[in-house]
Symmetry: C2
Amino acid sequence: MPKKYKLPAGTIRTTSLDVAALAGVSQSAVSRAFTPGASISPTTRDKVLDAARKLNYVPNSIASSLITHRSNIVALILGDLHNPFYTHVLEAFGREVQARDRQLLVFTLNDEQETDDAIMRLLRYQVDGVILTSAQMSTQMVGMCQNRGIPLVLFNRYIPQSGTFGVRCDNAWGGRQIAEAFLRAGAKSFAMITGDPKGTTSKDRVAGFVERLIESGVSRASIRSYEGDSTYEGASDAVQRMMADPEGLPDALFGINDTMAMGAMDTLRHQFGLSIPEDIMVAGFDDIPEGARLPYQLTTVRQPINRMVRATIDHLSLDGPAQSTDLPHDLPIRGRVVWRSTVPGDPPAEV
Amino acid sequence: MPKKYKLPAGTIRTTSLDVAALAGVSQSAVSRAFTPGASISPTTRDKVLDAARKLNYVPNSIASSLITHRSNIVALILGDLHNPFYTHVLEAFGREVQARDRQLLVFTLNDEQETDDAIMRLLRYQVDGVILTSAQMSTQMVGMCQNRGIPLVLFNRYIPQSGTFGVRCDNAWGGRQIAEAFLRAGAKSFAMITGDPKGTTSKDRVAGFVERLIESGVSRASIRSYEGDSTYEGASDAVQRMMADPEGLPDALFGINDTMAMGAMDTLRHQFGLSIPEDIMVAGFDDIPEGARLPYQLTTVRQPINRMVRATIDHLSLDGPAQSTDLPHDLPIRGRVVWRSTVPGDPPAEV
DNA sequence: CTGAAAGCGCTTACAG
DNA sequence: CTGAAAGCGCTTACAG
């Protein structure tokens, strides 16, 4: 019986029919043997599993997906791979998704406005859920996912009034803690190196930071801001601009993420010969392990990655029915301050 | 006409049949409109594409995969995510695979011996190819892939006599260059911080390094070796052991990868107050961007990632027939020395 | 260039 | 608990 559709030459393709023949059971029985909880006797199951082992049979999940409408694939859209924080995010999602017998289909974005394009591509793969860690997406694309019943969760960002659900660190709270730390250490003038001006993450950290300073009577004029592009190199450039500023050196510098704080520290020390925290105190945000290394010992805010990742995956409702849409559309999770040596003195109380 | 199989509630599922109905053509025509190179008139194609747009139709690649035996998915097995080198590898593979209209299904490994398990899982997804960057796999698993006609390429490792194809950096050559650089700078005693003792990468770099030193009359006794676990922290521990060694400080230290070289530098400087290269010269391997930062300025060997990634994907033969197996089973690609300031003096000639 | 029809490899009501 | 059969949404020979 010649196959009607061409297969790559020399390829052996063992199907449930082959296993059924060897085990002397129906094809349905083979399917049931591989379906947890299916109605099958232990005897039959063992016969099938034996035959499957002999034939090196592995069920074809493409075929089962077609009928179950579940691909067991979760799409992860990654923007900023160069920030080690996102390496840890990828690792955490990989671990959690694999623990649920799914796999990650990764979409790496080169340009900013590629998110919509990535969504169009992942729709073809019939993914069971989408995790978006990158830039903005259009409301049209949100609709494409919703129509198809594909759960979408934003990680560490939110799109107001889009009806999308977002899990994130409580960035404004974190910004406040850093402000408080600087104030207790006696700082009077401040600078920030900011990230993506369109992203909510950087904006919220800045907002919390500034808010707390203003509350404490600091004048807006003594809070400067430089764009750092979220990167080490961008922060280094921002420090050049800060140092060229006639205002002079601020007492305290807030890098909106650890990578930028590290870039700023290296530039302040090696290019301007300054000491930290003696000449200028520095703090970051994220608590990437690199910030704990000997040369940095960076005071920062820990993002509770594992809790954030689990909350994200829970919202995907990979098993069971979709989450009700009455839930709050934004779930900020509070981290904690990690006190190291780039800010002098003792940790202040939470504010 | 009620659907026989349950769909998640509130979900709209548009198929080629719906598009065909709206466009007034057959379902075959819809399929052809979305198949590049298919036999279809421009008029019909436009009618179909119009209807598809109105209905937000996206072809279901699960269904097409079932019949074409191509999932358009490439499996990438990643081990050491904490080494920034592999972040760049992931990014390069993502870029190249997406440029070929495929996506990466990522398998992150926590433990060492999970590779075989990952292979079993990816077989279900009917991937078009497998890229393995992690630890060893059994020859049985190699056979599983070969039987199914799934191309498998090892990235930066090889398994002798397994019949598997590997693309890698010419690690022995790189090790020789570092040895030569140290020798020209006047070093007489040497130490290495090594990586995974089972991996070929570390072994080959060590072998090339030692070989060149021996050639130049260096005695084996003046070449020490410490295990560094391929990590920053492992290298830091290795330096502790090296400094406790009664042999005293060597003239030159080779970190088998940049991450370890950086861990060693930080520990030598901040914990032992040593200067680099005045007290001890250091070199690494990989040329990760972090090694070029101000505090490190690390002399190293660049791995030609882009060439390696392209060679890997070419060997997958995603389009066209599978590669002949007469090809050499191991393709070492030569990098180049990146000369910075952790080794004194001028760059030596290649050896 | 076009349509009707078979079939990819499974899951799952249905009827024993 | 079990098997025969329908069907998931496509691609592709086949016959016009």
